[in-house]
Symmetry: C2
């Protein structure tokens, strides 16, 4: 296996782990799926010079995996006629379907249309809908030159996959009977073409082989538990669930749990997924915070706004990260009033009313200090909820009592009469890791407070 940015923060073997239900035993009636193989080819000199990271391959691979299409090879090559020709030919000889990205732009080194046309005995022609779209977009402000028109060409006779997000259309030809689908390299455009039409087309190509089952799938998002703890909580979850696989993915600082259930009958797969969903939620509450695309900061802000709760922040080691995260979603101003970054201790006293004695007796990284910080922020900003963070982000400043990574958090909720909620956490990792984890914990505490509705 190979690592990733994520894997830096994790023991290698734990970073990603797939557990087919077959290995857990107890699989009843699982569908043996006949593999449909895809290859992904990304084209561009800048890839081979390492100037950009190829995110298209992994994005496409994930889309295909979720649709039960197996990616066996992923290749990157330069903007060279011979290399592109060879790559497309070899991929088409090995796979059931080939997805290419890159080389569809206007410049001389965008060669995909020409090479693929030659391969299938076609000629490059202007795609009229794409040309009209270009005219509309340029609206007389930019001349439609022959160079610009290069990017609306497709091989004659190709099936065109229109580009809702840019100029160059995607297209599909058959090389030796194997569908070869070419897409622009700009990720936004590639995603848009895929989602608007191509996903369906790929499922049709897959089903034409008559071997693939229907799939029900969901991704749950978990914060506050490590991958191994999440995996332990899920132990046995899919035992006896036919056709189910479970995957864990560390997407720092959160963990994603992905379950796929395959069945010839889509409704049966969905029913089993619904049952798993209920079980999973009860096992992972309160750390499971969502099952959509939104990460914790956005989920928290939406919950705060929906509940009509006003919020303020008081930060030391995170130095503004909590404020920044809670305002990442548009519309945050309906809830968030502001915050204080009290990096120096005098500012904790001056701006938040922390008592000098507290700092002397307990230090700035202490339960007493964060309670006074949160209470000070709640009172000064006149808000319902205030959260405070103070910690030792490192790499220096640790003591035996409070080693690097020690963080105290407090949440004051003035809607009820409960005491402040506090938490001491010992975070692993770099300065950046500690600050990120601390800020996310602050958001998590806000989210839980909103869910509990002020009766804490």
């Amino acid at each position: 296996m190979i690592g990733s940015k994520v894997a830096i923060r994790q023991p290698r073997a734990a970073a990603l782990r797939a557990r087919p239900s077959g290995r857990c035993g107890g699989v009843v009636g699982a569908v043996a799926s006949g593999a449909v193989y895809a290859e992904i080819l990304t084209i561009g000199d800048e890839l081979c010079r390492g100037e950009i990271v190829d995110t298209n391959s992994s994005w496409l691979a994930a889309q295909l995996w979720e649709r039960d299409v197996t990616v066996r090879w992923m290749t990157s090559c330069r903007d060279e006629v011979d290399d592109i020709r060879r790559a497309v030919t070899e991929a088409a000889a090995r796979a059931d379907v080939v997805l290419c990205s890159g080389g569809l732009g206007p410049t001389e080194d965008d060669l995909t249309v020409d090479v693929v046309s030659e391969l299938v005995g076609a000629t490059p022609v202007i795609d009229e809908p794409a040309r009209q779209r270009m005219e509309q977009r340029f609206a007389g402000r930019i001349p439609v030159t022959p160079i610009q028109l290069r990017q609306v060409r497709v091989p004659s006779g190709a099936r065109v996959h229109g580009n809702p997000a840019g100029l160059a259309p995607g297209f599909e030809v058959a090389v030796g009977g194997v569908p070869v689908i070419c897409l622009p390299g700009v990720p936004r455009e590639l995603h848009a073409i895929f989602e608007s039409a191509l996903a369906e087309r790929l499922v049709a190509l897959r089903d034409a082989r008559g071997t693939a089952p229907a799939i029900a799938r969901r991704i749950w998002r978990v914060f506050g538990r490590g991958e191994s703890q999440v995996a332990q909580a899920c132990a046995g979850l899919i035992d006896g669930v036919a056709g189910a696989t479970i995957h864990y993915q560390v997407k720092f600082p959160e963990v994603l749990v992905k379950i796929v259930i395959r069945d010839r009958d889509r409704a049966a797969a969905q029913d089993r997924l619904a049952a798993v969903d209920r079980d999973l939620r009860s096992r992972l509450a309160p750390h499971l915070y969502g099952d959509g695309d939104d990460p914790l900061p956005e989920v928290t802000t939406h919950a705060l706004v929906a509940a009509g709760v006003s919020v303020a922040t008081a930060e030391s080691c995170t130095a503004g990260m909590v404020g920044q995260l809670v305002t990442r979603a548009a519309g945050a101003s309906a809830s968030y009033r502001g915050g204080v970054i009290a990096y120096a201790n005098e500012e904790k006293i001056r701006l938040l009313g922390v008592r000098p004695e507290t700092l002397v007796e307990h230090g700035a990284v202490s339960e007493a200090c964060v309670i006074e910080m949160a209470a000070g922020a709640a009172e000064r900003f006149g808000v319902d909820l205030a959260v405070a963070v103070s910690g030792v982000a490192g790499p220096t400043g640790g003591t035996p009592d409070k080693p690097v990574g020690t963080v105290w958090l407090a949440l004051v909720d003035r809607r009820g009469s409960g005491p402040p909620v506090t938490r001491r956490i010992q975070f692993p990792g770099t300065r950046d890791d500690v600050r990120t984890l601390a800020a996310w914990w602050a958001l998590s505490m806000l989210r839980v407070a909103v869910l509990e509705g002020g009766h804490g």
Copy 2:
């Protein structure tokens, strides 16, 4: 060409562009380099399922490119014996050197040592130095089991490249006379092995072909000008400079300029680079802020600390991002005192002393407001420098006068008697882009103020 996360924010054709001096004319005595070809192979099921992005390939490709080794193919395959064998064999048949990553861990699906051993007629053996290192690391706390020992195996007779950052050593064998170098997939470990020994080995392999020139290279970092503006400022820069190429890379929100000069004589290449450096700096000042690994936030913090200047922040739309960035480098507390996140207008009045009339007459996104915010922060925190940001991050809230992306910044410097420095910028892009650009501009203004030494 293919895009990247970076390219999302840029017109595709502009995202990355190489301009060999040959195309600019006037090249005198440029070295015609005989290409040495490398291939990169990354191994892992999780790559082909799209669960992680392959950052190793681009990292290695960049290292090779800078050393004048041309990467022609990059391939990813699954943890399957047949696929790994095929990938290594084909790569060795095409290239002068092959770099593999992944498949060196302890688990059953880590197969690289076994497959490569079989390919070269060797047997997997324990690398004794690596085993001793493992014993030391585990120190009796973790038993050294046969499974653990799997990851310190190498093919018998292989040249070992020790791993300073982890357990699994790298190694090198010859497949059909072509060096095949296998590295662990964890990026941190791969980088450590490369930097500790492998870089030198690759240069030796390259030079053994007797065709490659010496290389002098440097990367300059620019903030505050777009890629096309930077390219325009550099027009003609390397005209007449023998063996020089220039590349631009957008690494949002900054632009990197990379120049490589090749010559048989290393000293001659370095002399020419020094001359280019002087010219480049005069063309790009004051936007060129460094030529090292540190991005602007770290450069700024180090400059503030070195100058012994105290700093505070006053933020509205960035909501803490300036504070977070200025404290990203360890040791920031020697300069940074704290800040106010005045997200709601009442907090601008209450916490920073902005006059209500200012908000009524000019609005929160105005020169008058940011001046009062910065002045209020400077006075209240008792600091030398205070910077303030207020803007329309979007996606809503724009007006004809102040469309989405409008940001005002102000810097108050109490070391001198000059007036506040202000700046209105109209940023493109998403909410996140606008906030990031605004925060980086605030840091840029702090950096310039430190350079100017308070006489502004």
